[in-house]
Symmetry: C2
Subunit: 210 residues, 2 copies
């Protein structure tokens, strides 16, 4: 029953508690939505008194904003895998892999993001209109270049991107449905690989690079 006597540094305390709160918040927001989530529940999950949450994050909305921002960063960086690619098959295949991994490893964050967009993006509309718009334009141009060079079938780049987002994100957002249809059990390692293979197979053949 001896307690760790080591005193904590100020920096450590702040970093640790912020992380603790953000993790708890992500989970609770994912499960209950912004409106359904309560600061009390987040505090309980984080193992801190509610008043302590308000010490680190002034309002519920500020905390929520941070959670959404975090997942948005992860989401955006998945595109790096698409850039260095030699071929369309390689680039888009890697992007699918990356986004499927996000769905698997950050299901809560994915749900929070989906929920935010679904409700009209009340707090991250500016992101959509700047960062995301630029990002999308860039990738659409890259895909269009591939098409112009005759390296893949002529499809609408925008709708291809939507399909990639939708399909990969589905495994996080509708994970509960998938789990139910899987006999109530989460997908196994092998099943995740099969899912990735299926998605890549259909889409890559669909754009004529298989």
């Amino acid at each position: 029953m001896n307690e760790t006597p080591r005193p904590m540094r100020r920096n450590e305390i702040r970093a640790m508690n912020e992380t603790l709160i953000l993790q708890a918040a992500e989970k609770v927001f994912a499960e209950a939505g912004f409106g359904g989530a309560t600061m009390q529940l987040i505090a309980d999950v984080a193992g801190l008194p509610k008043a302590n949450l308000h010490y680190y994050f002034a309002t519920k909305e500020e905390l929520y904003r941070r959670v959404v921002g975090n997942i948005f960063e992860i989401w955006l960086h998945a595109a790096d895998s698409m850039d260095g690619a030699e071929t369309p098959a390689e680039g888009i295949g890697a992007y699918i892999d990356a986004k499927m991994d996000i769905s698997r490893r950050h299901p809560d964050g994915s749900k929070v993001w989906a929920s935010e967009v679904m409700h009209g993006a009340p707090v991250i509309q500016d992101y959509l209109e700047t960062t995301l718009r630029d990002w999308t334009a860039g990738r659409a141009a890259l895909i269009q270049r591939w098409i112009d060079e005759g390296r893949m079938a002529p499809v609408d780049p925008q709708h291809l991107l939507y399909m990639l987002w939708a399909t990969t994100q589905h495994y996080a957002d509708f994970g509960h449905q998938i789990e139910t249809l899987n006999g109530g059990k989460p997908l196994s390692e092998a099943q995740w690989n099969a899912a990735k293979a299926s998605v890549k197979q259909i889409i890559l053949r669909g754009i004529g690079v298989l």
Copy 2:
């Protein structure tokens, strides 16, 4: 300023008000989520006093359950288009058309459904485990039959279904994102047709029937 003097029949009153409330509820639940929606706001949108809502629907959860049930019916019936098909291309193409039309015509309902599943299906878990499971098994078997007959490429039927759901539903659930990336304007008639065509093109080629 003359008011319509015709007295309303009992049946009419009930049917009209229930419809009015359900429509308002669908909209509000879609915009705010279950937790974020308030009976007061639904009442305002419906143009009725809040107490009147509780006369027709005892609790918020009962009202929500009805909204979810309604969209689930529509969602399930979209599969009828898949059944009478002569070829896989025809059947799956028609299913994509039907589900894209649902996304377009019932975006609010689609969002409510997505939100419900995303949050672990707290009120319609039984549907998932019975109706949806049977439905899915049936369609997967149909697709598998097509594959066995060599009429389409050998893909995992389950993951193909997920891709169909994800891609079509995306145009409703992430409609705000799509709208933002479309310069802030909703998709036009022509753009919706282009979207349908793109989705069908990629998927149908992806399963080797184009």
